[in-house]
């Protein structure tokens, strides 16, 4: 069952990476990277148990802390101009694309 959980975590990491590459806005990318880091902690713990060496859990603890610090460190600069989101760019993209596949209430 540990192997199944490991494979599932790998799949979740791949999907998170897809969102990080595609993500329309900067915040989507930050979210995806944070999710990737959380999944990495679980992966390290699972691989430690899979190989019979639970000492890997120390690395998992350090990785969880570094993941948190990195996200907070990036968002520390969210007051700068690079983080400003331009809603007009989104609207022009949406208008140029065909809207037939969009859900309308």
């Amino acid at each position: 069952m540990i192997i199944a959980a490991t494979l599932a975590i790998f799949a979740a990491m791949a999907l998170a990476l897809t969102r990080a590459v595609l993500g329309p806005s900067l915040y989507d990318r930050i979210l995806a990277v944070n999710m990737f880091g959380t999944k990495t902690v679980l992966l390290i713990a699972l691989l430690g148990f899979l190989m019979g060496r639970p000492e890997f859990l120390d690395i998992a603890i350090v990785y969880a802390l570094i993941n948190f610090i990195s996200v907070i460190g990036v968002l520390r600069y969210s007051g700068s101009n690079a983080f400003k989101h331009d809603n007009k760019a989104d609207e022009t993209i949406e208008k140029s694309a065909s809207r037939s596949d969009k859900w309308t209430p």
């Binding site: 069952m1 806005s25 915040y27 989507d28 979210l31 999710m35 802390l65 400003k84 989101h85 309308t104």
Partner: protein, 110 residues
């Protein structure tokens, strides 16, 4: 007793893996940043908790269980904090939630 523990461990690991994959699918399928963040943050906390509890069931040394507990508590504190900071930064920098026209009218009527 041993088989019971391994059964519970397998159950928790399976549920946790399922929750993690569903969260990743949700991050890819939803069409708005805030809904995506909802999917990611909820399933991150719950899936990690289930997988770590499942690992606790099959470990027999005290120090290993203590380390797993530390990771679990760290995740429970850090995950919501990160989501909160991210949502606040996105909202402050002008990322608008994507609300359909119809429900926007409904909200303004109420």
């Amino acid at each position: 007793m041993d088989t019971l523990m391994s059964f519970f461990s397998g159950l928790c690991l399976l549920v946790g893996a399922l929750i993690c994959v569903s969260g990743a699918v949700g991050v890819n399928r939803f069409d708005d940043f805030y809904t995506r963040m909802h999917a990611a943050s909820v399933t991150d906390t719950l899936g990690a908790a289930f997988i770590l509890i499942g690992l606790m069931f099959i470990s027999d040394q005290f120090i290993v269980i203590a380390k797993l507990m530390i990771i679990l508590l760290l995740g429970l504190i850090v995950g919501p904090t990160t989501s909160h900071v991210l949502a606040k930064a996105a909202l402050k920098n002008g990322l608008k939630p994507n609300i359909p026209e119809q429900s926007r009218d409904d909200i303004s009527k109420k």
